[in-house]
Amino acid sequence: MRTVLKKILTAMRGGVNELGEAVVDGQGNRILEQELRDSEHELKQAKQELASLMAEAASLARQIRTEQDSAAKREDDARKAIAAGQEDLAREVAERIVGHERRASELTQTRELLQQRIVGLKERVQKAEKQLADYRRELQVVKTNERVLRTTAQIDTNINSQQSSLSTAKETLERIRERQAREEDRQTASATLEKELTGADLDEKLKAAGIDGEQDAVNDVLARLKGGNANP
């Protein structure tokens, strides 16, 4: 990942990308994609192998159990034969028991070797999965970078063909200010209209001219209370 990011930055500083040129060239991209496919393939194989080894281990466990069960059963038989004084028969059964036990121990050894291979393979699968995730992330960065460059190149070409040139930040700011001023004017106008409709504008004018209906009424009442001579 580090290598990819550094490559992108180096190419950017060099100004390679002005026309949306691929920064990590097509070749590099193909190599990355090939690595991704190889990793995917390896992962698939490792998983298949792991599955078959695990199936084999399960089958061995079953066989070991069968041998152990048979041995246990024959021990009963041998005891009965000894109890019945059938020494020869008991020996024959004992030989069988030895056979079962030997096979059980051989199978157990095989199974242990198999378990070791399973552990190793699981590690390989995990490693391949991590590697795969890394490659995918790298490829995503490379592809997104290329897409952004191509996209912006496309936008620029388009805008340039429509207008004489891409508008500058100053022009944009000017247009933003004009719109904001228009919005402000509209708000002031609607506030004025609102006042006119409610008569609030007239009240304000009267107040400004020192004519305040409310204040006059209060003065009248006060004068009446003081002297009873309110009405001229």
């Binding site: 997104t144 952004v148 936008i155 891409l166 944009t172």
Partner: protein, 134 residues
């Protein structure tokens, strides 16, 4: 979500009192230009890839900036990028951009939210960084 279904979805939609004027940008890549009402000066461009929906708006070009204040501007841009809602600051080619990336599984409502936020952020950023223009 692809650009075609986005065009259809945004054409008649409103979001927080905004409408969207959508225009495809001719070329090999699927790119849309979206003009958000009330923020017409800063069009937002959308492109959809396998892994993300990328929305971006242009702020200014390198040659428009006062070179001696470039470091200070960069520092301020990095600092403001973190708290700014849904958008980050970046540079592609000579263009300084504000952008946001969404998951390709985002719904129309998330995309509209992003578009409105991005267009408004672009205006705020332009006005904030006006002093750095040459």
């Amino acid at each position: 979500m692809d650009t075609q279904s986005l065009t259809l979805a945004l054409g008649d939609a409103t979001h927080s009192g905004r409408t969207f004027d959508v225009m495809p940008i001719a070329g090999e890549e699927p790119v849309l230009q979206v003009i958000v009402s009330g923020a017409e000066e800063t069009p937002v461009y959308i492109t959809v890839t396998d892994t993300q929906i990328l929305c971006l708006a242009y702020l200014f070009d390198e040659q428009e900036l006062a070179p001696e204040r470039l470091n200070e501007l960069h520092e301020n841009m990095l600092r403001i990028s973190v708290p700014m809602p849904l958008s980050s600051l970046g540079k592609t080619g000579q263009h300084y951009v504000v952008y946001g990336a969404l998951s390709p599984t985002s719904g129309t409502s998330e995309i509209m939210q992003e578009l409105v936020t991005l267009a408004e952020n672009a205006i705020d950023l332009l006005q904030t960084f006006e002093d750095y223009l040459a």
